[in-house]
């Protein structure tokens, strides 16, 4: 019998305490970017998200909830966490100051430290570590620029960039410890 307390077609399920990865959830909160723990699940982020408009399996609201509870498995599923376009629409409108876009970036950083980075972002980051920009300064680009009357691309000070990045973990994350030696 369907009483008034029954919620039809519910997708919800009971979460067991054993499933919760409290270490993960603590590291998201402690990173200090945004305030995930004050989220009251209003869904303004979801309603504002351009990704969710086209793919309902992606939801910033669910991501924040999963991160706060430590439902790490859900965050690792199907590359969903890498779909955020960093458009900041959620951060702009969140009535609680959660800053979901920044929290999602933090979650990605933590997942990266666990050893997984989406291939496309890994390629971008690797180029920046090696060349100081998203692409190597190719000679043909300077030829095009020259033909247009533009000066050559100003060279990145790669030695300084390498020195700066030595003091972060990015090369380790990318498996690029000896990037300076590569062409």
């Amino acid at each position: 019998m369907q009483g008034w307390l029954t919620v039809p077609n519910t997708q919800g399920r009971v979460v067991s305490l054993d499933e919760l990865d409290s270490e993960f959830s603590e590291s998201v909160v402690k990173a200090g970017r945004g305030k995930p723990s004050v989220c009251f699940q209003c869904g303004t982020c979801a309603a504002s998200c351009p990704i969710m408009k086209f793919d309902e399996t992606y939801s910033p609201r669910t991501i924040i909830r999963s991160a706060v509870l430590g439902l790490t498995d859900r965050l690792l599923k199907r590359d969903l966490i890498w779909l955020c376009a960093a458009c900041y629409s959620c951060t702009e409108r969140c009535p609680r100051g959660v800053r979901p876009a920044e929290v999602i970036s933090t979650i990605r950083n933590i997942i990266a430290r666990k050893g997984y980075i989406h291939q496309s972002l890994k390629m971008q980051a690797t180029a920046i570590v090696r060349y100081g920009r998203l692409w190597k300064d190719e000679e043909f680009v300077n030829e095009i620029r020259g033909d247009m009357g533009l000066p050559p691309i100003s060279a990145v000070d790669l030695q300084e960039v390498a020195k700066v990045l030595e003091h972060t973990k990015v090369k380790e994350l990318l498996g690029e410890q000896d990037a300076e030696d590569k062409p």
């Binding site: 990173a31 351009p50 990704i51 408009k53 086209f54 793919d55 590359d79 890498w82 779909l83 955020c84 376009a85 960093a86 458009c87 900041y88 629409s89 951060t91 702009e92 800053r99 970036s105 933090t106 990605r108 950083n109 990266a112 980075i117 989406h118 291939q119 496309s120 972002l121 390629m123 971008q124 980051a125 920046i128 100081g132 920009r133 998203l134 692409w135 300064d137 680009v141 095009i144 620029r145 247009m148 009357g149 533009l150 000066p151 691309i153 100003s154 060279a155 990145v156 000070d157 300084e160 960039v161 020195k163 700066v164 990045l165 030595e166 003091h167 972060t168 973990k169 990015v170 994350l173």
Partner: protein, 288 residues
């Protein structure tokens, strides 16, 4: 007026016509650019993997402009937005500040926070002024009807970027209308173009672009006007890919804001790199 010029990644590598037209337009407005020797990527693209690295690169770039002693002009709103966010964090978060200070110390630099970072649209609105721009127009483009695309990072998050109103943006319209062009509103004016996720899901990225372009086509405009090199590439380069995928015809010219301003200032299309645009602008130029 003097600014250091921050090249970024996408503009010098993929959108040279943006840099070329920007240099022409601001020259006419009496703005001098100083090259920012040794600058790297702004750092934004490292943020998804390691926030500290993304801040460190941004802070180093900011040191370079502070040492020259002038404000920085960027053509890419993702760069100017990233700098704005990092500046806020370094000013408000002592822990981040001391970590970055220590890293910069290794290369004998120090972040002071003394330089402003401005996207070219902000320079045009706040420092030059729409009236001054209008005074340089020698060829009003009254025949044209365009759809302005704002993108995201030019104004979001507004508490850190502090430019225009993300819920009802107007400032790109103001700049475009200074040339005599008519700006039209469209349903998806505030939608992201989809470019940032092209590498993660091409399908989703093109679905977003299709929605955006469809909403623009419905208004019967002659062109889209952009102020972001990354959005520009997505609109301009990927129309062909979408025509293949969806079996639809677009052929919608995409102009950099500075190309439009340059045309109104009397520059020839070739001087503004219009031949570099992937979607043909020939029909558009015939209207002028």
């Amino acid at each position: 007026m003097k600014y250091s010029y921050f090249p970024g990644c996408v503009t010098p590598q993929r959108e040279n016509s943006y840099e070329l037209s920007a240099r022409k337009v601001i020259e006419k407005l009496g703005i001098e650019l100083v090259e920012l020797e040794g600058a790297s990527c702004c750092g934004f693209s490292l943020d998804a993997i390691d926030h500290l690295s993304s801040m460190a690169l941004a802070a180093r770039n900011l040191c370079l402009t502070e040492e020259i002693g002038c404000d920085l002009l960027a053509l890419c709103p993702t760069c100017s937005g990233h700098f704005a966010r990092v500046k806020t964090e370094l000013t408000e978060n002592p822990k981040s500040r001391s970590t970055i200070d220590a890293i910069l110390g290794k290369i004998d630099r120090k972040f002071e926070g003394s330089s402003q970072v401005k996207h070219i649209a902000r320079v045009l609105i706040e420092d030059v002024g729409v009236d001054t721009i209008r005074s340089t127009v020698v060829k009003p483009l009254k025949q044209l009807k365009v759809a302005p695309h704002y993108g995201c990072h030019i104004m979001k998050p507004s508490d850190e970027v502090r430019f225009d109103n993300p819920e009802n943006p107007k400032l790109l319209d103001c700049l475009v209308e200074a040339t005599g062009v008519t700006c039209v509103d469209y349903t998806e004016k505030k939608l992201c173009c989809g470019a940032p996720i092209m590498g993660v899901s091409e399908e989703l990225s093109l679905d977003i672009l299709r929605e955006k372009l469809g909403s623009i086509q419905d208004r019967g405009v002659d062109a889209i006007v952009t102020l972001c090199p990354f959005c520009h590439t997505h609109f301009d380069l990927n129309q062909a890919r979408m025509e293949e995928k969806y079996g639809e015809t677009y052929g919608m010219p995409v102009l950099h804001l500075t190309q439009l301003l340059g045309l109104a200032q009397g520059y020839q299309p070739g001087e503004l790199g219009l031949h570099e645009n992937r979607v043909s602008v020939d029909d558009l130029l015939e209207l002028l």
